[in-house]
């Protein structure tokens, strides 16, 4: 195998110095001459019709430049999520939003926005807007929202308040499979609302030129799809819209796949009304109440097995709470089913799932994308089957997991799996054999170990439109510029994509520049989500780099009078095969005509320049897809007198195909694990009876702090998937996927209690412990 010089090394991130020294710029930092500030009036009601809206007093306030409402803004239906740009032709994208509407559908929904000379004036003006509402009946639970008597939130064709389509995935015959099973476990699981709490809140700055060209700097994870959405929402051609990151985004986790909630359209609306640049920055409270959350909801699982542990049939059903507008509400239940049914080799499987509109904050994409919800149910069912059959949960999993070549429901095949190795390594890290022997009789503090496994995607094809482009320009000194439409939202894109380019071409990493996250300077790319950026955009970068390398070797072949296949090209040096680097000294080839044995990339590029030639590589790919695999083994401690659950350690073993930059991969795994710990233990957004959210700040919403982080051991397993760049697969979301299940299984191991609802708050846990004690006495 070819030795790698740059790929596979934990090289320093390209943005490290800027971010560590506070000089990196984000949307929130932008200031343009004459810029105005916008604030948004939000609905205090969960469901209401606006009868009357009077903005005259607000407009009179000194410093106010414009007030936007449903009356003076475009009435073009659109959707803030990128689904409206990449839903496959056999389905209709759901368009259910206006910039402002005369019906509000959740507490926090946009009613009006003010542009003024300062945020303070804009805020004062909001208080002067008079709105008369007619209250409408509201519904918050997805099961209730499907009842006939529930209010209709949007017109739907698939069923009462069901946005888009119902997802059905069948294979084999589940009835037959259950009939042939010796043992069946069945239960319903309940999942809470989780919030991304990305560091930078939703933000956008918009500028409209006198001839109508729109430029938007924003926090979007998908600049190109965002351009499509804005062009549609404002009825202009895409060529008149530029969307870019400035250049960084303070995290994403799925909260801005498409627009950054309504930050962009509100900024553009007000920029058009005032002729001035307008900045919108969501407060943390706005970010909590009026930007996408994870889908809460219900998951039913039924799993059947033979006495020897062989799985026979699985039935999975999901009803998710989509909230007031459809943001990935078809795709999320789709991924829940598609991933949940692809972990184990089961001949008979069936999935049925959908979301339901309710009068709460819209749910949308969030790290894991439905998969953690499904695996919370499935992995606990697997543990129950193991317990009932008296089998080791570890062995039962190894016995049933998908192997390369197995038939499965996915429309691409499984070409690599390191899941068995992941299970073994994670178990070894935590001394799995201690399980069952960790507690003294009568102890009030109990320890337990649990496992959860899973798979995910490396890309969103074939679930939605998904293609990538990149181009690489060789500059006159032999350094290169990579252009790619994906952003840098903290995941390391601008380090790892250059690593791929440098390795592929054969030049040092410091010779690579990159332009990214800008529709003006980069070719179309669907953006950063679906754990796809390195895998999918990377495929295009490698293709462009191969194109450049081919052109360079051809040129060098002519120059060195050697067939390209007899040339070596590494570390910026092109030379005849077999020649040692130490023999390649001296230069001046550019001006001379005598034949050389070698040439540096620098000289070659300049040689070409003097002869009116530049090398430009193009990569255009429809990347395939590949399954990353993961196993988490978790140790927890349960205080049986207070119900407190503490996660002590998580061993997270991940088959990432190939770690292009191991340190960045470990960071992704650790971050995903910690997000999963919060989801499992303390994070949730609850509402009062009228639908007003109770957890609206970082102080109220209990994210784990650094002090709460368990020891996390990230273990990288490499299987070199044949489809990925240098063998790489997705990793960004994966740390999240099996974490809740692994924690719940560990709590079961400690207490003997099966928890079917997250998060495992002390109150919830103590209640079950008390019930159990009562039953014993």
């Amino acid at each position: 195998m070819k030795t790698l010089n740059i790929v596979g090394k934990s090289l320093r991130r390209a943005d490290a110095l800027e971010k560590a020294t506070g000089t990196a710029t984000f949307s929130t930092d932008l200031n343009l001459p004459g810029m105005l500030y916008a604030k948004t009036l939000r609905s205090p009601h969960a469901h209401a019709r606006i009868i009357e809206i009077d903005t005259t007093e607000a407009e009179k306030l000194l410093g106010v430049k414009a007030v936007a409402t449903w009356k003076n803004t475009p009435r073009l239906l659109f959707n803030t999520s990128a689904t409206m740009t990449f839903t496959l032709p056999n389905q209709e994208p759901v368009l259910d939003q206006y910039i402002f509407d005369n019906v509000v559908r959740y507490v926090g929904d946009e009613v009006a926005a003010v542009a003024a000379i300062s945020e303070r004036v804009a805020e004062a003006a909001l208080k002067l807007i008079k709105v008369e509402y007619e209250l409408l009946p509201a519904v918050f639970d997805p099961l209730e929202a499907m009842e006939e008597s529930a209010p209709d939130i949007h017109p739907c064709h698939a069923g009462k308040n069901i946005p888009g389509e119902i997802i059905k995935i069948p294979m084999g015959d589940v009835e037959k499979g259950f009939a042939e099973s010796d043992i069946i476990y069945e239960n319903r699981f309940t999942l809470p609302i989780q919030k991304h709490v990305q560091l930078e809140t939703q933000a956008a700055v918009a500028q409209v030129s006198p001839d109508g060209n729109i430029t938007v700097w924003s926090t979007t994870q998908t600049p190109h799809p965002s351009r499509i959405i804005l062009a549609a929402a404002f009825g202009v051609s895409q060529s008149k819209v530029r969307v870019l990151n400035p250049p960084y985004i303070g995290g994403g986790f799925g909260v801005r796949i498409g627009l950054s909630a309504k930050a962009e359209p509100i900024a553009v609306t007000l920029a058009k009304l005032t002729g001035k640049p307008v900045k919108v920055v969501y407060s943390r409270e706005e970010d909590f109440i009026a930007s996408d959350t994870r889908h809460a909801g219900y998951v039913w699982v039924k799993l059947g097995a033979k006495r020897d542990g062989t799985f026979q049939a699985i039935e999975l059903k999901g009803v998710l709470n989509g909230g007031a507008y459809c943001s990935f509400s078809c795709e999320t239940p789709g991924v829940m089913g598609a991933m949940g049914l692809s972990v184990y080799r089961i001949p008979n499987v069936s999935y049925y799932g959908h979301s339901v509109y309710t009068n709460i904050t819209p749910a949308g994409a969030m790290r894991g994308f439905g998969n953690p919800q499904g695996m919370f149910a499935i992995e606990q069912a697997v543990d129950e089957i193991a317990a009932q059959l008296g089998l080791d949960p570890l062995e039962l999993r190894k016995q049933n997991i998908i192997r390369v070549g197995d038939p499965w429901i996915l429309p691409y095949s499984c070409r690599s799996t390191g899941l068995e190795e992941c299970i073994s390594k994670a178990a070894e890290e935590l001394n799995w054999q201690r399980r069952g022997t960790m507690n003294e009789p009568g102890s009030k503090i109990l320890r337990g170990i649990g496992i959860g496994v899973g798979t995910h995607v490396s890309n969103s094809w074939p679930f939605c439109v998904d293609y990538d482009n990149a181009y690489i320009t060789v500059l006159q000194d032999g350094s290169i510029m990579v252009a790619t439409g994906v952003p840098e939202m903290g995941t390391g894109t601008i380090t790892t994509l250059p690593q791929l380019a440098a390795e592929t071409i054969g030049i040092p990493l410091d010779q690579v520049g990159i332009t990214f996250g800008d529709t003006l300077t980069t070719p179309f790319d669907i953006g950063s989500h679906a754990s796809r950026t390195l895998y999918a955009a990377g495929t295009a970068v490698v293709a462009a780099a191969n194109d450049v390398r081919r052109q360079i070797l051809e040129y060098a072949g002519d120059l060195l009078k050697t067939a390209p296949e007899h040339l070596e090209f590494a570390n910026g040096l092109i030379k005849k095969q077999g020649l040692r680097d130490s023999e390649c000294v001296g230069s001046g080839v550019c001006q001379l005509n005598e034949v050389q044995n070698f040439i540096t990339m620098k000289d070659l590029a300049y040689h070409a320049h003097l002869r009116n030639k530049q090398f430009i590589g193009i990569g255009r790919t429809t990347p395939p897809n590949a399954p990353p695999w993961h196993a988490h083994v978790t140790e927890v401690e349960v205080d049986t007198e207070t119900g407190m659950v503490t996660v002590i350690k998580v061993a997270a073993a991940h088959d990432v195909g190939k770690a292009i930059n191991p340190l960045i991969v470990e960071g992704q795994i650790e971050g995903g694990v910690l997000m999963g710990v919060g989801y499992s233990i303390s994070e949730e957004i609850k509402r009062d009876a009228k639908g007003k959210p109770l957890h609206t700040s970082i102080h109220k919403y209990l994210l784990p702090t650094a002090a709460d982080a368990p020891e996390i051991k990230a273990i990288i397993v490499e299987t070199n998937d044949p489809t990925g760049p240098f063998g790489a697969k997705g990793v960004g979301e994966c740390g999240m996927v099996p974490t809740p299940a692994a924690i719940a299984n560990a709590v079961y191991d400690a207490t003997g209690i099966r928890f079917t609802e997250l998060p495992l708050t002390p109150e919830r846990v103590l209640k079950k412990l008390q019930e159990k004690n009562k039953n014993i006495i």
Binding site: T642, G643, K686, L694, T705, P762, E763
Partner: protein, 296 residues
């Protein structure tokens, strides 16, 4: 500058007691004192509180510091803490760690490092949260407060500071100047906090205890809880029950049950009344055991 929702206020930072007195005599109403601002700045911004005059106490540098007065003939030793002493200073003070362990133990669990650097002891007490982390330790340490106003100063036991959640008995122009802890050499004290997060979290319940033994029996005991009622509370029935008894886990558990009976917690977003009632005995027992372990 601290933002106030809606309207402005006048800010001043007196550098002496005379200056402070003059400001207070002139200002008619709407005076509010500013210490670290970790409660007040938030409340002014959200509109929960509002003021016309914001009087910053940080100009009075003598309000900061921790000092011991040694015991003399007929007079016990004591530790005096200026009300503007930061929570972080309490946390790292060796004198307190040695002689009043419950207080630094509580201090190091308050908020986060950043919050503790700004937050002050006086602010924590005057904010009158039923779960203020320094309240229960001060109750079991028999702390008393020196209050100051333009019309003079007075001393009160810390217990007499609070009316109910968010409300003290301080007069409108009165500040806490100093917190005094009488020293009791043979005493073991401890603090514990119950909440789902290890940092940046207001306790569901917090508890402090102080114990002294004589011939193996409990000769002095104090138990205080936060989150058990409208204000930080001493658990006097539980204390009375323990007095004269042997310091056993069983007795401590019984004291815990009594403490729950004395409590009247409420339900909040953070925890239900039922959960608080269920965990008060546990925390009481555990904090007593911890205080006992500090005795030897």
């Amino acid at each position: 500058m601290i933002e106030q929702r809606g309207k402005g206020y006048e800010y001043c930072r007196p550098g002496s007691w005379e200056e402070l007195a003059a400001i207070l005599c002139k200002a008619e109403a709407g005076v509010m004192f500013l210490a670290g601002g970790t409660d007040l700045a938030v409340d002014l911004r959200t509109g929960k509180k509002s003021c016309a005059h914001l009087v910053d106490l940080k100009g009075l540098t003598e309000l900061q510091g921790i000092a011991e007065t040694a015991a003399e003939e007929g007079k016990k030793g004591e530790i005096c803490i200026g009300s503007l002493t930061s929570i972080h200073q309490l946390e790292i003070n060796p004198l307190l760690q040695e002689k009043a362990a419950a207080l630094p133990e509580a201090a190091c669990q308050l908020g986060s490092r950043q919050v503790r650097n700004r937050a002050t002891l006086g602010g924590n007490l005057a904010n009158a949260s039923p779960t203020a982390d320094t309240a229960a330790p001060l109750l079991v340490l028999d702390a008393f407060l020196e209050l100051w106003s333009p019309s003079g100063s007075r001393h009160i036991p810390v217990e007499d500071l609070w009316q109910k959640a968010g409300k003290t008995f301080l007069a409108a122009d009165e500040i806490i100047r100093q917190i005094t802890l009488p020293l009791a050499p043979g005493r073991g004290t401890a603090f514990m906090k119950l909440g789902p997060r290890q940092a940046m979290d207001i306790a569901i319940i917090n508890a402090a205890a102080s114990l002294e033994l004589e011939d193996g029996r409990i000769s002095q005991v104090r138990i205080a809880l936060g989150g058990a009622g409208e204000r930080p509370l001493r658990m006097k029935q539980a204390e009375a029950f323990l007095l004269g008894k042997e310091a056993t886990a069983e007795h401590f558990a019984q004291a815990g049950v009594l403490a729950a009976q004395e409590s009247s917690p409420r339900s909040s977003r953070r925890a239900s009344r039922e959960y608080r009632l269920a965990t008060i005995p546990v925390l009481t027992e555990r904090v007593l055991l911890k205080a006992l372990s500090r005795l030897s």
